[in-house]
Amino acid sequence: MSKFVSKKVEEASEVKKTLGEYKYGFAMPENNVYKAEKGLNEKVVEKISEIKDESEWMREFRKKSLEIFYKKEMPKWGADLSEINFDEIYYYVKPSNGQEKSWDDVPKEIKETYDRLGIPEAEKEHLGGIKAQYESEVVYGSLMERFKKQGIVFMGMDEALKEYPEMVKEHFGKLIPPSDNKFAALNSAVWSGGSFIYVPKGVKVDLPLQAYFRINSPKMGQFERTLIIVDEGAYVHYVEGCTAPIYSVDSLHSAVVEIYVKKGGRCRYTTIQNWSNNVYNLVTKRARVEEEGIMEWIDGNLGSKITMKYPAVVLAGRKAHGEVLSIAVAGKGQHQDAGGKCIHMAPETTSRIISKSISMRGGRSSYRGLINILPGAKNSRSKVVCDALILDKESRSDTYPVNKIGEKESILEHEATVSKIGEEQLFYLMSRGFSEEEAEAMIVNGFMEEIVKELPMEYSVELNRLIALQMEGSVG
C-alpha cells in the first residue's frame, strides 16, 4: 500500500515537472517564405489562389465565399466572440517551400518545434501516416508503403486538389457549403492545408492516420480544410492534435471538416485540441453516413480561449449509426461551448451523444446539442447523456440541448446532471492515504474514463496527466 502511494506521489511530481506550465507554449523565431498582409480583402484571397496556382473553380469558390463571409452576421448565440478583430489577423503564412518527404529536409526551426512536440517519436511508434501543418501549409507528410499499395490516399488538401481534382470537386464544400455559417464562409475563402483522405472499398486502415496543427506566428489565423472519404465497407481512424505558443494577442483557428462514409463504411475522428488559451477555436465539422455506415467523433477540448464546435452526423442511410463523445475542460478564462448534433433522415438510424465537462477556476463549459429525428425516420433511436462537474464556486456549467422529434415511431432519451465531487468520495480516498489533490484527480479521471478509454494510448495518458495538472490547487 505505502509503496503504491509513494509511486503515486512520484508520478504527481513528474506530472508537475513536465506539465508545470502549458508545455507547448514555446515560440520559434518566425522565418516564413511568405506572409500575406494583415487583414482580409479580395487581394489576399486572390494572392492565396495565385501562390497555390489553383484552378478556376477554386478561385471562384474562394471569391464567392468571401462575399458570403461579408454578408453573414456573427452568431448571436453561444460564446462571446465580440473581441475578434478580423482586420488584425494574418490570413496566410507560408513557412517553407513545398511539402517535405523526408524529415531531414524540413526547415530547422519547424523541425525543432515538432521535435519538442514529439512528432518524429510518434512516427517511430509505427503510426500509419502523418501530416504536420505549420502555420498555413502542410510541411511534412508520410504514409507507410503498404498503405500506398492498398490504394489509401493521405495527403495535404492543396496537393489533393491537383492530384485528384475530380474527387475533390465533387465533395468539397458540398456537406458544409460556405453559406452554412460565417466561419465556414471565412474558411472557404482563405483555407489552406488540412488533410485529404480516401480509403478504397473494403480497405481497413489498421493504424491511425495522424495530423498535427501548429500556429507559430502571433495574430495568425489557421484555416485548414479536411476532407475524408471512406468508401463502402472501409474503415479509417484519423487523429488530430493542435497546439500554439502563448502570445499576448489572440489567434484564430477556424477549420472545416467534411466526411463522407459510404455504405457499410466506418470512420472514427479523434481530436485533442490543446491550443494555448489565447486562441479562438471555431470549427465546423460534419459527416454524412450512408446505409449501415458508422461515424464516431471523439472530441476533446482542453485548450483555447473560446471554443465553439459541435461535430455533426447526418444519418442519411438506413441503419446508419452516429456517435459523438465529447470532453470539455474549462479552466481560468476559458469558455468551452461544445457538443454534438445528430440528424436522423432514414429509418432505423441510431445515435448516441455522451458529453463530459469539467469547469474549474472560473471557467465555463457549455453543452450545446441537437437531435433531429425527421418524419419518415421510423424506428430510430437516440440517446444523449451530459454529465458535468463543477469544482469551485467561480465556475459555471450550462446545458442547452434541442431535441426535435418528427416521427412518432422513434425513441429519444436525454439526461443531464451537474454535480460537485462528493465529500464522501474524497474522504474515503484520503483515508486510504491519498492527498486531497490526488483524490480529486482520481475521481475526475474516473468521471472521464468512459471517453478516455476510447482514445489511442498516448493520448489517454496525456489527457490524464493534463487533467491531473489542471487540478492542482483547484480544490474550492
Binding site: P375, A388, I390, L391, D392, K393, S395, R396, S397, D398, T399, Y400, P401, V402, N403, K404, I405, G406, K408, E409, S410, I411, L412, E413, H414, E415, A416, T417, V418, S419, K420, G476
Partner: protein, 141 residues
C-alpha cells in the same frame, strides 16, 4: 399556437395536445437562495398532427449553494404526424449543487397494444388506456 407558462418550485403538470393543436409550454425554475429544492415534472401526450414545443430551464444563481433541482419532460407521441420538441436547459453558476434533467420522447409499443387487445379491448380502447396510465402514473423517482 397556444402558449402556457409556469414558474414555480415544485409541480407536476400533465397535458394532452389534441389533434391538430400546437402547444408550447415553457417552465423556468430559478434558485437564488441557499438550500432551495425544486422539482418539475411535465408529462404530455401528442395526438394526430399535433405539435408540442417543450422548453424548461433550471437556473442556479451564485447565491444558491446546496440547491437541489430536477426537471423531467416525458412525451408520448400517439397520433400520426405528431411532433415534439424538448429543450431542457441548465445554467449553473455555483458548485455544491445537484442539478439534473431528463427528457424522453417515445411511443406506444405494439406489444402493449397487442396485449390489451388480447384481453378484449379494441385498439382504440387499448391506446386510450395506455395514455391514461402514462398521464396518471407516479414518477419512477
Amino acid at each position: 399556437m397556444k402558449k402556457l407558462s409556469y414558474k414555480g418550485r415544485s409541480m407536476v403538470k400533465t397535458l394532452r395536445v389534441g389533434s391538430g393543436e400546437q402547444v408550447s409550454l415553457a417552465t423556468m425554475s430559478v434558485y437564488d437562495k441557499p438550500r432551495q429544492r425544486g422539482e418539475v415534472v411535465i408529462k404530455a401526450v401528442v395526438m394526430d398532427g399535433a405539435f408540442l414545443d417543450l422548453s424548461g430551464i433550471i437556473k442556479i444563481k451564485k447565491e444558491a449553494h446546496l440547491a437541489e433541482a430536477f426537471l423531467r419532460q416525458k412525451v408520448l407521441l400517439v397520433g400520426d404526424k405528431a411532433r415534439a420538441e424538448a429543450k431542457p436547459e441548465l445554467e449553473i453558476e455555483t458548485d455544491e449543487v445537484k442539478a439534473s434533467h431528463a427528457a424522453s420522447v417515445g411511443r406506444i409499443s405494439e406489444e402493449e397494444i397487442f396485449y390489451l387487445m388480447g384481453r378484449g379491448f379494441s385498439r382504440e380502447e387499448a391506446i386510450e388506456l395506455i395514455i391514461k396510465a402514462f398521464l396518471g402514473e407516479e414518477d419512477e423517482n
